[in-house]
Symmetry: C2
Subunit: 413 residues, 2 copies
């Protein structure tokens, strides 16, 4: 086997080209599940997979699998991958580095003459981002069987369009119950990703290896008050849904700040009101709340407090409350064998490595329910993500791809 | 002159037909300035004007004038009218009763053989509702010269489209500076309107005559914080624009409740955030605030308090604030001669009448700067307006039209 050569410039070109496939003008990247941009992004990735002679299949929810067959076909494959969907107004590296970087790793391994004993499979997960249905990691949740088929079928986007509608529009015709993977279908899963936090950059360390992924929770709040004319409806007569929402958003912040854990974070990322006219008292409000922690205990403490406070607010204001917990997931503990393997590869490459917690969740959170996992993190400028100015340097990305390629070679070799 | 006969059923049919011209499915009425629905609504009104042989003209901002010429052409006309634009998710009576009702009044006068000495002119004002540009009474403001041409040219909607863009799309090609009316161009202006409040219904009184119109103010708040990943950005590092917005919306409520006047009302009717994804810390928020009072003093007290509190909130949160007062208008005092004339007509018709304040503002607020004005109110069910279930009975509407027709006859006869 020849030395592994990572072609950084080609990879950068591919990242930049994929970034142009967006629902919004450059430099903004927006690719929402099964939008035109998402479908074109998938086609772009498939083209690269074909050029590497990988065997491509899609499942019934649009998860994409590209397989480099191993010579021992009885062994379960080793998997890598991430996602290419992007929230509104996002950047070009989140998820994409783990997909296009994995393809570059496979390309480098192929060029080096490496022949995998067990198959290496790239997975491009459907809808890691929760934009369309308000629930993240849709594809990997279904792969892990951690989202019931009933709940999946009941999902609706803002226009009341179902998952069934969208997946058919995305060309996924199979049955949803065929998506779930058997436990240990894969020998392991390693995801390369930008950190989305500032710790590696601050410590000037090029690689992080993830030991634990924080426990995420998502809540939807629907508020129904009484609308009316903003001039004629006197203050004592009001049941303003938006003001109940404003108080709840502030209660989310307060709850996250007071669990006793500095790791608790709470965000009201969606706040919509109707009718949304300056001279009309808001009759409806919808909030989507994201709550995370490294520990389930403090996350759930905040969740209970938010719910209780929301009930009190709505009772006081005479506003009807519908409070739904969409998901309240456990944290994932990474496989110590895989963590040490990645750390060892870094040592060989003379790349300092930091063991860390992932505060963002990833498809790895759910893959952990199916097989041993870990994640490889690279720094991103200022810790910024989910913004158009998200940035990792080519050198940082090449480091990550080099570590991933060697890790895959060890696991498949 | 034969007796005046108001054809209620024809009027109801016209009201119902105009309600079908909407950007949203029935029973919702949405007609935003120069949208397809607004333009089709204008065409519908013009058709009726033509059938009554009224002379139609439009000015450079789309105000529509339909004139029934009088036999003494030297006398200034008497004007009536209202608007047909409707906020999102509105009903079918607000504004429309004053336009189609005035046309029915003219039709009834024509059928009775009445010949006006001075002309009677119907005005359909452009954009009484502030939906597109965030400022209400756009047409009547410009007629009264109470919106500077510079400010008018600087108006932008949410898509950054200007008034120039929209008025040209609406077929208005003249110069904006030709819109302003000379003082006393009209001998008087009387507007028929639903009350948009519950007082007439509660008191079981069929007609209100307006003595004063409350003083409205509109504020736009733009907040710029720091976005980021909802999982990775810890609470102490945040500058969440939506939370600053939530606090400001609550401060608006608080300020309106504590001026000492029960007539102060404050509403945050628009609350938008970006990027608006559940897992992203909001970096931008836009609020549109409506503040009204019967007295300028308490309205301005609330305005100053809101601004001061907003500055404190944004300083504490490290969020950038742009606070603009779009308008802070004076109340209008109605002409006592016109008020007494309407009251007298009601007495002749044996209709009980209530002298009242209009808490909603209307184009009459600005017409008051040009000529003597008053308004005729009819009850609406539950005081509800700006909602699809807004409702006045045909009998209530006919009463209003009968009072308007006789008032116009007195003024023009």
């Amino acid at each position: 086997m020849n030395p592994l050569v990572i072609n950084g410039q080609r990879l950068q070109r591919e990242i930049d080209e994929l970034a142009t496939i967006s629902e919004a003008p450059a430099p903004v990247v927006t690719r929402i599940l099964f939008s035109e941009a998402d479908l074109r992004g998938r086609a772009f990735v498939k083209k690269i997979c074909s050029s590497l002679s990988l065997k491509i299949r899609s499942d019934a929810v649009g998860n994409l699998f590209a397989r480099w067959e191993g010579f021992d076909k009885k062994l379960p494959a080793i998997a890598t991958g991430s996602h290419i969907d992007a929230i509104p107004n996002a950047g070009r590296y989140d998820g994409v580095v783990g997909v296009l970087g994995a393809l570059e790793a496979i390309r480098a391994l192929q060029s080096s003459g490496f022949k995998p004993r067990r198959a290496i499979e790239l997975i491009v997960f459907t809808a890691e981002e929760p934009t369309r249905f308000g629930i993240g990691c849709l594809g990997s949740r279904l792969l892990a069987g951690s989202l019931s088929l009933d709940k999946a079928r009941a999902l609706r986007d803002r226009d009341c369009k179902s998952l069934e509608h969208w997946r058919k529009r995305g060309g996924c015709n199979g049955r949803l119950n065929s998506v779930r993977l058997a436990r240990n279908y894969y020998a392991g899963f390693v995801e390369l990703h930008i950190e989305q936090g500032p710790l590696l950059e601050r410590a000037k360390i090029p690689i992080g290896v993830v030991e634990k992924i924080a426990a995420p929770g998502t809540m939807h709040v629907e508020l129904t008050g009484v609308g009316g004319h903003a001039g004629a409806m006197l203050m004592p007569d009001r049941h303003d849904a938006a003001l109940a929402g404003a108080e709840i958003a502030l209660a989310v912040e307060q709850a996250a700040k007071t669990t006793g854990s500095r790791d608790t974070v709470g965000t009201t990322g969606v706040f919509r009101i109707e009718p949304g006219a300056v001279n009309s008292v808001p009759c409806h409000a919808w909030l989507e709340i994201d709550l995370r922690d490294t520990q389930v205990k403090t996350r759930d403490l905040a969740l209970r407090r938010i719910k209780k406070t929301a009930m009190q607010i709505c009772k006081r204001r005479g506003v009807k409350l519908k409070f739904s917990v969409l998901n309240a997931d456990a944290p994932a503990i990474c496989d110590s064998g895989l963590v040490e393997l990645v750390a060892g590869v870094c040592q060989e490459l003379r790349l300092p490595v930091k063991r860390m917690i992932s505060r963002a969740y990833h498809d790895s959170l759910f893959m952990a329910q199916v097989c041993p996992i870990t994640m490889i993190f690279i720094p991103c400028r200022g810790g910024v993500s989910h913004r158009p100015d998200e940035y990792s340097s080519l050198r940082q990305i090449k480091n990550g791809v080099a570590v991933l390629a060697r890790t895959l070679a060890r696991l498949a070799g």
